[in-house]
Amino acid sequence: MLEIERLDDGDIKLIGRLDAAQADAAQKYLDGVDGPCTLDLADLEYISSAGLGVLLKTHKRLMSQSSALRLVHVSSHLADIFKFSGFDKLFQIETS
């Protein structure tokens, strides 16, 4: 399961698992975000290629608006996925 929370500072927190079953809901939420966006991934336990696709699509849309997606509190497991997929070169990533 995946929960999405908007934090007081405007950051968006993803909690749980961003897999193929949750990708559509996550995409729908992030499609409503404009401007620079920070995703807090401290409590994101898992992400698959479907989840990476959501982040990529959102990042590309924000880049077209001269903004970007920033990922913070990234765990070592997620950092491995970003590294193997080359996404570590696409996003501004801060590990936890």
Binding site: R17, D19, A20, Y46, S49, D80, F84, G86, L90
Partner: protein, 136 residues
Amino acid sequence: MIRHFKRSFSELDAIVTMTEAVFNEKAIDPSIRFVVDLAIEELFTNMVKYNTGADHDIEIEITGSPTGAQVSLRDFDVDRFDPTQPRDVDIEASAGARTPGGLGIFLVMKMVDSVSYEYQDRTSTIRFSKGVEPLA
């Protein structure tokens, strides 16, 4: 442990529950759980997406020991489709040029220790291992 799952992404929660049960029962090293979950999801969703003419459930078998896990996914009455064949994914491409296509299988091939494909009697079987010797 062997279970059968309907051809739907909505089965992923049930698959995770199965994996968790096997990891607990066999006291499998939890540090490899992420990779095992990832590989199962990518291979299962690949079968769901590309073997569209099939209507049989997909069989998943997970075995293990404290040092690792072995997994097989079996898809019945389908055409041959070997996801282990090399596919080009340019991980150096810019964000604008990147597409998510093929990335899942690419990650599986990078992160598991062994993976094999067998096609016999219109049944596709994909086996992978992480942390232990591959299935015979």
